[in-house]
C-alpha cells in the first residue's frame, strides 16, 4: 500500500466521521427545534388518529397504495402522544431517511469524480432533502406516512441496487436481469410506498450514467405505468393525480403561519389537558396576536374556573363559540371548538353531533380525542351500550387502554366519577326539539332544565353582552339570574 493511498483512506475515514457527526448534529438540532417550536403540532397529529392494530383496521391499509408507509407511519405517530415522543420519532425517522438518501445518492456519483465528491455531494444533497422533509412537518396535518413513503422508495432502490450490482457489468445479460428484477420491484415499491416509487425510478435513472448502465428496467416501468395508470386508478378507486402522489408529498406552509397555528394548538391541547390557569396566563401575558380560536379557549378556561364574566372584557375580540354554526364547510378547528363548547355547557346531543362530524377530518376517520369525548358524552347520558362502542376502540389501542379502563362503567376513576356526577346534574331532560344549532335556544333550554348551570348562564349572558343585546341580556338576567358578578351588576344598574 502506497503512502498516498493510505493518506486517502485516512482522509476518507476522517470525512466519514465528520459526516456521521454532521448527520447526528442535524438530528439533535431537529429534535431540539421541533421540541421547542412544534411539539403541539405533533401532539395534534396523534390526537387526530386512533391506531388500532386489529385485523380489520390493518387490512384496510391494503386497499390503497403505500400500505406499508401508511401503516408504519400511523403506528409510529402513536408515540407522538408522549412527552418528547413527537420530536424524537420525527428526528429519528428523518435520520434514517437521510442516511438512506445519502447511501443511494452515493451510488449516483461516478467513481471517477473521486472519493471526496462521492462523499460530500450525496451528503449535502441528503442533508438538504432531510431539511426539506423536516420543513414539511411545519404543516399541522403532516403525516409520517409521506416521509416513510419517500424513504421506503429510496431504501428499496438501494437494496435492489446492491443485489443487482453484480449483474450490471455484463451488458446484455445485465439489461435483461436488471429489467426482470427492476420492473416487478417498481410495482412492489408502488404498492408498499406509493409515490416513493417515483424516487425508486428516479434513482435508477440517476445512477445509470455512474454505473455505465442502460436503465432499461426504469424505462420499461415508466412505459408500463403510463399505459396502465387508468387501470391502476380504477383498481384503487382513486383519481389519477391523487394516485401518483399518494399518500401525499406534504404541504409547504409559511413559517410564521405555522408558528401561529402552533400557538393556537397550544391553547387547544392545554385546554384538553385541563391546564386552565396556564391558558389564562398565556393569553394575558403573551404579546402574540390573539386569534378568535385563542379567545375561545381563554373564555372556556375562564368558564371552567367560574370567572368568565371577569375575563370577558379582557378579550379584544371575544369569541365564546356561541355563534358557531356547523355545516358541511366547517373546518376541523371550528367543529372541535363547537364540540368543546357543547360539552362544557352540558349539551351532550350537540357534543355527539360535533364529534361525529369532526371525525371525518382524520386520515383514519377516527380521532382519539373525539372518540374519548364521544365515550364521555354517552357515559354522562347513561347510554352505556353506545359508550362501549367507543371504549372498546380505545381499549384496543395501545395508548388509550388505561384511559378506557378507567372510564368503563363499574370501574370509573374517582376524577371521572366526580365529573360524571357533576355533568349529569345539568342534562336537559325536557321534551324539546331544537332546529339548527342556535346557541341561545340551547343555553336557555339547559337553564330551564337546571338553574344552577352557572357555566350555561355565564355563556348566555356574556353572549348577550358581546352581541350588544342589552334588552335580551336584561330579559335573560331577570329570568335566569341573579349571579353575583361585577360585570352583570354594572349592566343591570
Amino acid at each position: 500500500m502506497t503512502v498516498s493511498t493510505m493518506g486517502k483512506k485516512k482522509g476518507a475515514k476522517v470525512s466519514e466521521i465528520i459526516l456521521a457527526s454532521l448527520f447526528l448534529i442535524w438530528t439533535a438540532g431537529c429534535f431540539w427545534y421541533f421540541q421547542s417550536n412544534f411539539k403541539y403540532h405533533l401532539f395534534f397529529v396523534e390526537q387526530n388518529q386512533l391506531f388500532l392494530g386489529t385485523a380489520d383496521c390493518l387490512s384496510a391499509y391494503f386497499t390503497r397504495p403505500a400500505w406499508l408507509a401508511c401503516m408504519a407511519g400511523d403506528w409510529a405517530q402513536q408515540f407522538y402522544h408522549f412527552n418528547f415522543g413527537g420530536p424524537a420519532v420525527l428526528s429519528l425517522s428523518l435520520l434514517v431517511f437521510g442516511v438512506s438518501a445519502f447511501l443511494s445518492l452515493k451510488e449516483c456519483v461516478p467513481s471517477r469524480w473521486g472519493i471526496f465528491a462521492r462523499l460530500w455531494i450525496p451528503a449535502f444533497a441528503a442533508l438538504a432533502l432531510m431539511t426539506v422533509e423536516a420543513r414539511l412537518f411545519f404543516y399541522e396535518n403532516a403525516r409520517l406516512a409521506s416521509l416513510y413513503a419517500l424513504g421506503g422508495g429510496i431504501i428499496l432502490w438501494y437494496a435492489c441496487h446492491c443485489t443487482t450490482e453484480a449483474f450490471e457489468r455484463r451488458r446484455w445479460a445485465g439489461i435483461v436481469i436488471d429489467s426482470l428484477i427492476f420492473v416487478p420491484m417498481a410495482a412492489i415499491c408502488f404498492s408498499l410506498f406509493g409515490y416513493g416509487a417515483l424516487a425508486f425510478i428516479a434513482l435508477e435513472l440517476l445512477s445509470s450514467p455512474a454505473g455505465r448502465r442502460i436503465p432499461a428496467g426504469a424505462a420499461i416501468s415508466i412505459v408500463l405505468a403510463l399505459c396502465l395508470w387508468g387501470r391502476i386508478g380504477t383498481h384503487y378507486r382513486m383519481e389519477k393525480k391523487e394516485l401518483a402522489l399518494y399518500p401525499g408529498v406534504g404541504r409547504w406552509v409559511d413559517a410564521t403561519k405555522a408558528r401561529g397555528v402552533e400557538d393556537l394548538l397550544t391553547y387547544n391541547i392545554e385546554y384538553g389537558r385541563g391546564n386552565y390557569n396556564g391558558i389564562i396566563r398565556l393569553y394575558e401575558h403573551s404579546r402574540n396576536a390573539k386569534t378568535p380560536e385563542m379567545s375561545f379557549f381563554y373564555a372556556a378556561s375562564a368558564s371552567q374556573l367560574g370567572i368568565l364574566p371577569d375575563k370577558l372584557l379582557k378579550m379584544k375580540k371575544p369569541n365564546l363559540g356561541t355563534f358557531i354554526h356547523l355545516d358541511s364547510k366547517s373546518n376541523l378547528f371550528t367543529i372541535e371548538m363547537a364540540a368543546e363548547l357543547y360539552y362544557l355547557i352540558g349539551d351532550m346531543t350537540y357534543t355527539e353531533r360535533a364529534c361525529m362530524h369532526a371525525n371525518n377530518f382524520s386520515p383514519t376517520k377516527r380521532c382519539a380525542s373525539l372518540i374519548k369525548r364521544l365515550a364521555e358524552a354517552n357515559l354522562i347520558i347513561g347510554d352505556y351500550a353506545g359508550a362501549q362502542k367507543y371504549l372498546g376502540q380505545l381499549r384496543r389501542s395501545f395508548i388509550y387502554r388505561k384511559w378506557a379502563e378507567e372510564h368503563t362503567p363499574g370501574s370509573f376513576s374517582e376524577d371521572f366519577q366526580r365529573e360524571i356526577d357533576h355533568k349529569r346534574q345539568f342534562l336537559n331532560n325536557a321534551g324539546e326539539i331544537r332546529i339548527g344549532d342556535n346557541c341561545h335556544t340551547i343555553l336557555t333550554g339547559l337553564l330551564d332544565a337546571n338553574r344552577n348551570n352557572i357555566v350555561a348562564l355565564d355563556y348566555l349572558l356574556c353572549t348577550d353582552i358581546i352581541a350588544n343585546q342589552k334588552a335580551m341580556f336584561m330579559r335573560d338576567y331577570q329570568k335566569y339570574g341573579p349571579r353575583d358578578c361585577e360585570l352583570y351588576k354594572k349592566i343591570v344598574k
Partner: protein
C-alpha cells in the same frame, strides 16, 4: 394410502371435538355477532364470529364433527369448507356446539342451531355508509357487497365524484340492470342506470317543494313514484333520544321515465296532508305510501302526535293514470302507531312496514319495529323474532320474497347494521342475523351506519368513475 389417512384424520377430529374434562355450562354461547338459532340462506358468506370474554382455544362442532378450531376466541371459517358445508346442509338444521378453553379448562356452551334454508337470497346488497347523524357527507360512500363472500365495491364515492351528498340507491325489481340514486347539490341530479348506461335526470318540477327524495320503480321500470319533501332535522334536548327528522311538507308524483314527464294527482298530493315513502305493488296496480296530516307549528308535542297511516291508490301502468280513491290499509290513529317504508313482497302477498310511536324517521326510535301485513287477508303478523329493543327500519325484499334485509341499531343504539331474516310462506319471520364480515371486529371498529340496505340479483354495472363522468353532463329535464 389416502383413505386410511383420511379415516385417521376424521377419527382424530372427532376425538378433538370432545376434549377431556369439559364442563358443560348450559349457558348460551356468548358470541358476537349473535348467530345462535338462526335460519340462513345456503348462499351466505361464512358466519365468522368471536367469543366474548377470553378463551385460549375454541372449537366449533357441526352435528358432532369438529368443523373449525382456533387459537383465541375468534372463529373465521375457510370459505371453501364453508361453501361445502352449506351445499350439503341445504334444507337441514345443523346442531352447533361451541367449546372454549379458558383459565378453568374447557367449557361447552349450550348447543344452538343453524337452519340452512333452501331459499336462496339475492347475492348482492347495496347500502350507503354514512355517519349516523346523516349530516356530514364528506366521507359518504355507496357500496355493494356480495353476500356470498366478502367482496365489497364502491359504486359512488364522494371522494371521487367531488364531495357531494348522495341519497340511497334503489333497484327496479332487484335487477342490477335498472336502478337509480341521487347526487345532491350543484351539478347533481338523479343518476339512472339502464343496462349499465348512466343518465342524469332532473326530476324536479317548478311547482315541487324539492327534487325527488324517496322513490320506487314500477314493475316495467317505465315509471317511478316519488316524494318531494321539505325535510327538517331536529335535535332532542334529551340526549338519549338524539335526533328527529320530520317533514313540514311532502307530496307524491309519478315520473314517466320514457317521455320525461310528470303525472300529478290531487289524490296523492293533498296540500293539507303529508304523503311520503311511496312504492309500487309488484303488479303495478297500486301505489302504496304513508300519509299524515300536516302539523301547524314545530313543537315536539305536535311531532309526537303526528302518525302516518299506510294507504294505497290505484295505478294503471298502461295509461299512466293514478286512481282517485285512496284506501287506508293501516289506520295510524286507531292503531296508535306511525307507519314508514311500506315495501310489498315481490310475490305481492305481504307488505312489510316499520312502525314507530310517531313521525317519519324511525332510525332513532328505539321502539321502531317491523310488522308484516298479509295483503290477502289483512292479517297483521308480528315479527317478534326479527325485531329487537333497538330500532328496525329501511327494509327491502329478496326477489323470491323469502328474505328481508333491514337496518337495525340493536347493538349499540347508534350505528345501524344490515340484518336479514327469513320469511316463511305464511309470512312469519325467523330470528334475524347481521351481515357476516371477514373480520370479527369489523362492526366494533366501524364508525358508520349502514343506511337503506337493498338486495339485488347481481352486481351493478357501473363505478364511481362512471358516476363522475355522467355528473359532468347536462341533466335531462322533466316537464
Amino acid at each position: 394410502m389416502r383413505k386410511p389417512l383420511a379415516l385417521f384424520a376424521a377419527a382424530a377430529l372427532l376425538a378433538a371435538c370432545a376434549p377431556s374434562n369439559v364442563t358443560r355450562t348450559g349457558e348460551q354461547a356468548p358470541i358476537y355477532p349473535d348467530y345462535t338459532d338462526i335460519t340462513i340462506p345456503a348462499n351466505i358468506a361464512p358466519l365468522n364470529f368471536k367469543l366474548k370474554g377470553s378463551a385460549t382455544r375454541t372449537i366449533l362442532c357441526v352435528d358432532g364433527r369438529k368443523f373449525r378450531s382456533s387459537r383465541g376466541g375468534k372463529l373465521r371459517f375457510n370459505e371453501k369448507a364453508w361453501r361445502a358445508l352449506m351445499a350439503e346442509s341445504e334444507g337441514k338444521t345443523l346442531e352447533i356446539k361451541l367449546l372454549a378453553r379458558g383459565k378453568d379448562g374447557w367449557r361447552e356452551f349450550a348447543p344452538f342451531t343453524w337452519t340452512v334454508s333452501a331459499d336462496k337470497i339475492d347475492p348482492y346488497l347495496t347500502y350507503r355508509l354514512i355517519e349516523p347523524d346523516y349530516e356530514a357527507y364528506n366521507n359518504i360512500v355507496l357500496q355493494q357487497r356480495c353476500i356470498e363472500n366478502f367482496r365489497t365495491d364502491d359504486f359512488s364515492d364522494n371522494r371521487v365524484i367531488g364531495n357531494k351528498c348522495m341519497n340511497c340507491h334503489t333497484y327496479a325489481n332487484q335487477d342490477p340492470a335498472t336502478s337509480m340514486f341521487y347526487v345532491r347539490g350543484p351539478g347533481g341530479g338523479a343518476i339512472l342506470n339502464m343496462d349499465g348506461k348512466l343518465q342524469k335526470l332532473s326530476i324536479k318540477g317548478e311547482d315541487m317543494i324539492s327534487g325527488s327524495v324517496y322513490f320506487g320503480f314500477s314493475p316495467s321500470a317505465r315509471y317511478i313514484v316519488f316524494s318531494a319533501n321539505k325535510i327538517i332535522p331536529g335535535y332532542h334536548a334529551q340526549s338519549i333520544r338524539r335526533m328527529e327528522v320530520f317533514d313540514t311538507r311532502s307530496d307524491l308524483y309519478v315520473a314517466d321515465m320514457k317521455e320525461h314527464r310528470f303525472i300529478r294527482s290531487s289524490a296523492i298530493s293533498d296540500p293539507e296532508m303529508l304523503e311520503t315513502f311511496p312504492a309500487f305493488s309488484p303488479d303495478g296496480r297500486y301505489i302504496y305510501y304513508c300519509k299524515a296530516p300536516q302539523i301547524d307549528t314545530v313543537t315536539l308535542e305536535n311531532i309526537e302526535t303526528q302518525k302516518y297511516s299506510l294507504c294505497r291508490v290505484a295505478f294503471d301502468e298502461s295509461t299512466g293514470r293514478i286512481g282517485d280513491k285512496v284506501e287506508t290499509i293501516y289506520d295510524a290513529y286507531s292503531e296508535g302507531k306511525s307507519v314508514c317504508h311500506p315495501r310489498v313482497s315481490p310475490d305481492g302477498r305481504f307488505v312489510c312496514i316499520s312502525i314507530a310511536d310517531y313521525g317519519t324517521f324511525p332510525l332513532w326510535h328505539r321502539e321502531a319495529d317491523l310488522l308484516m301485513i298479509n295483503l290477502e287477508t289483512g292479517e297483521r303478523i308480528p315479527m317478534t323474532a326479527a325485531n329487537s329493543d333497538g330500532s328496525e327500519s329501511y327494509h327491502s325484499w329478496s326477489s323470491n320474497s323469502r328474505w328481508l334485509v333491514f337496518a337495525s341499531k340493536r347493538d349499540d343504539g347508534v350505528y345501524g347494521k344490515p340484518y336479514f331474516c327469513h320469511v316463511g310462506e305464511d309470512g312469519t319471520c325467523s330470528k334475524s342475523f347481521v351481515l357476516p364480515q371477514k373480520h370479527t371486529e369489523y362492526y366494533d371498529n366501524l364508525l358508520k351506519s349502514f343506511n337503506a340496505p337493498e338486495l339485488g340479483k347481481g352486481p351493478l354495472p357501473f363505478t364511481s368513475f362512471d358516476v363522475k363522468e355522467i355528473l359532468d353532463s347536462e341533466p335531462t329535464p322533466f316537464n
